[in-house]
């Protein structure tokens, strides 16, 4: 049967190789090919070309072996691009699932109730803790202090993509089981990974006769969870195979899943794979891959050592394990956005070492009895359980009162350890911690100023409620490519106000705009006059402070997702500089012609 012309048949053959021919048309084409030698030749030629293109071109661009260091760099750059907006997502995305967990709120309410009672002698309920409960949340008025005696019926429901269960509450740790979408499992415990500036919550579940951790991004918690354990790093179960305290669901068809024990941080790592690290600065060597491990020695500038493993926690920091004086030690490759050691060689081969991201603590947790601070109003102060951390700023000033204009009691170096006693919430750009430095008690800014050693009690994942920000500038920036606008402002004089929050809000850009190829760039140019150190510190809302010299400018890609940006400019305390800054915002597009 020759129901097709040759020209038509060729068109159909082209459609066939591109997968566009319907089954019916394919049948007609095959019938045509049976009777048409010329068309069969054409088809054979097409198929030969297909094979050549399919094989040769792939060889031209083989799948790249991306160095792990490169991945870390990209990861860092991507996070930097969003960091300014992280306050935004914390308050919108991260807080949402947490607040949806009525059970979590219940526990927080208990803690608030207990601590609040201790602190003020009055009964606090969840509703009157500032910023703790959104208006839409159902309060839990029936809670009593002894409600922990209730029987738990707390359950976790895996989300639409299922939930991965790990042997330790950190993303890089091995998956030991997977909960199918919609499946319900008993919940045994809850854990906040770090302090109040992060919002990762992990749920300890019982699955297939063992226990493991699922991220709250993958599992929703429901039911009465008032009796489930709330873990801190000190109380985390060290062995994930510990039998759960609640009966596991009986499932005869469940397959036995092998669980890998978590190696200890001090364990011996594999032999070197040809990757080395070199100290870019005098670098502390930690006993484990986190700054809260003990510092065992210093890795000097310029010294090179073979790398034997790496760890990349759920947060930002990457640590490299080295063999130092006969014992394993950990040096930070990237800590708070700062590079400490350089990497060289075949570092993509480095084995990942799954260790506890935080050191075990055997000391009993002391309880802190907060005393009211006369400098803060009662409504703005939230008392904390014992809460420790290290500073992220260099030259961080401890002030007598929660105000930048207050007297400086002492100046801390980056990495100094403090105990947080209280939080004063005076609004988004005016949140302070009262800290004990060991020598004095005073106030530091709460804006990304500390790395917390452990979860800090009832401040939970969102210590800073979305209070309206006193904006420096609001731009009405239309979505015009090439649109640029700028402003200049002089910082207050040398009146003690040596740090300044620049709050910028952009209006007029439709948030629903789904074209990801637009971008906005914010350029910050700093000018100084007078004498003194010319190195200022700056950061996105105080986080990861970087050095910015007078006369220098930085560019930040703001993306299209955020409508607010916060920066902190910090002027060294030993300078008499007058500082002004200029902010320029430009709208651009990645689109082609």
């Amino acid at each position: 049967m020759m129901s097709l012309t040759h020209t038509r048949a060729r068109e159909w053959m082209e459609a066939e190789v591109d997968g566009l021919l319907s089954a019916g048309d394919r049948q007609v084409l095959e019938t045509h090919l049976e009777g048409c030698t010329e068309c069969r030749s054409y088809m054979a030629e097409l198929q030969r070309l297909e094979v050549r293109l399919n094989t040769s071109l792939k060889h031209r661009w083989p799948f790249p072996q991306v160095e792990r260091g490169r991945l870390v760099d990209v990861n860092r750059a991507v996070k930097d691009s969003t960091r300014g907006g992280q306050m935004f997502w914390r308050l919108t995305y991260a807080a949402r699932p947490v607040f949806e967990l009525g059970a979590v709120i219940t526990i927080m309410a208990i803690m608030a109730w207990v601590i609040g009672s201790v602190a003020t002698g009055t009964t606090l309920t969840a509703e009157n803790i500032p910023g703790l409960l959104p208006a839409t949340l159902t309060p839990t008025p029936t809670l009593t202090a002894d409600s922990s005696a209730q029987v738990t019926t707390c359950a976790g429901v895996a989300g639409a993509a299922g939930a991965q269960v790990r042997d330790w509450p950190a993303t890089p740790n091995p998956v030991i089981a997977v909960i199918e979408a919609g499946q319900t499992v008993p919940v045994i415990g809850l854990y906040w990974t770090e302090g109040p500036v992060t919002s990762d919550v992990w749920v300890l579940v019982s699955v297939q006769e063992m226990t493991g951790w699922a991220s709250n991004q993958e599992i929703a918690v429901a039911g009465d969870c008032s009796a489930v354990a709330v873990y801190t790093p000190a109380t985390l179960p060290q062995n994930a195979m510990t039998p759960p305290p609640t009966p596991a669901p009986t499932n005869d068809t469940a397959t036995q899943v092998q669980v890998s024990p978590v190696p200890q941080a001090t364990g011996t790592a594999a032999a070197s794979v040809g990757c080395s690290v070199t100290g870019l600065v005098d670098t502390p060597i930690y006993s484990g891959p986190h700054r809260s491990y003990t510092v065992i020695d210093t890795f000097p500038t310029g010294v090179t050592s073979a790398a034997i493993g790496w760890f990349y926690g759920a947060g930002y920091d990457t640590f490299i394990q080295i063999n130092w004086k006969g014992a394993p030690g950990w040096v930070p490759a990237n800590l708070d956005g700062l590079a400490y050691v350089g990497m060289d060689g075949s570092c993509s081969e480095l084995p990942f070492i799954a260790v506890s991201p935080l050191p075990p603590t055997n000391a009993p947790t002391p309880t802190y009895q907060p005393t009211p601070d006369p400098t803060a109003t009662a409504t703005g102060v939230t008392s904390l359980a014992v809460c420790t951390g290290t500073t992220t700023f260099d030259a961080m000033q401890v002030l007598a009162k929660p105000s930048y204009a207050s007297a400086v009691l002492v100046t801390l170096r980056i990495g100094d350890r403090v105990t947080v006693l209280e939080i004063y919430n005076g609004g988004e750009a005016n949140v302070w911690y009262r800290v004990d430095t060991g020598s004095v008690t005073g106030w530091i800014t709460a804006i990304y100023s500390l790395n917390f050693d452990r979860p800090c009690g009832n401040i939970g994942p969102t210590p800073i409620p979305p209070i309206s920000v006193p904006l420096d500038f609001t731009f009405n920036a239309p979505l015009d490519i090439g649109h640029s606008t700028s402003f200049t402002r002089a910082l207050p004089g040398d009146n003690g106000d040596r740090a300044h929050v620049i709050a910028v809000k952009l209006d007029g850009i439709p948030q629903g705009n789904s074209d990801p190829t637009y971008y906005r760039t914010i350029q910050l140019l700093v000018e100084c006059s007078g004498n003194g150190s010319t190195d200022l510190r700056w950061g996105y809302y105080g986080n990861s402070p970087l050095t910015l010299a007078c006369g220098e400018s930085i560019n930040v890609n703001m993306g299209m997702g955020w409508d607010s940006q916060y920066y902190v400019l910090q002027i060294p305390p030993d300078t008499g500089l007058s500082v002004s800054y200029e902010v320029t915002i430009t709208v651009g597009a990645y689109t082609g012609p």
């Binding site: 068109e11 082209e14 070309l49 060889h59 661009w61």
Partner: protein, 201 residues
Amino acid sequence: MTNQTMSLHSDIDPAATRRMAPTPATIDAVVRDYYPHVQRFAHSILNDPDEAEDAAQEAMIAAVNSLEKFRGESSFKTWLYGITLNICRGHLRKKRTRQTVANALTAFQLVMGHQPTPEESAARNESERELWSAVDSLDEGHRMVVILRYVHELPVREIAEIMRLNEGTVHSRLHYARRTLARKLTLKNQHTHFEEGEAEL
């Protein structure tokens, strides 16, 4: 490779994407699982490994900053490739400008003998080199559809989404590109398959 990696590669469930926000954990996962693909994609479009790294990083930044806009209407990889392609086009445009300047400068110099690029010397044989050269000689629009189709094994529907063309246009570009490639390869080698095919008539 972890299960998480595999689940991401099998493409993100549209229902799950409602939760996608640029959290550190999401960024970790997206960069770890997709960056190598994006870098290879950029390399194939730009044909310059260094520039591909820059473009891939820009693409990751653009994508993560727009993560909340991803609604699962296309696959995540398709969406990501679309962003990458746009960024690569920007790079190509700049490259053309630079090339124009470079051409103007070299016009005053003696024409040097052709030095094979490292990639050309990576070709396994003359036949492969010819094919690569023929693909390079296609104009940008036709070259891109060939690369998306044969290097990245994307179906016509996804190529259309990435390039924001309709499927018919993609198909007709592929058709034209294949005809052009067959002709170029025939001219270079008189004993090509095409002629063998003709001989069967």
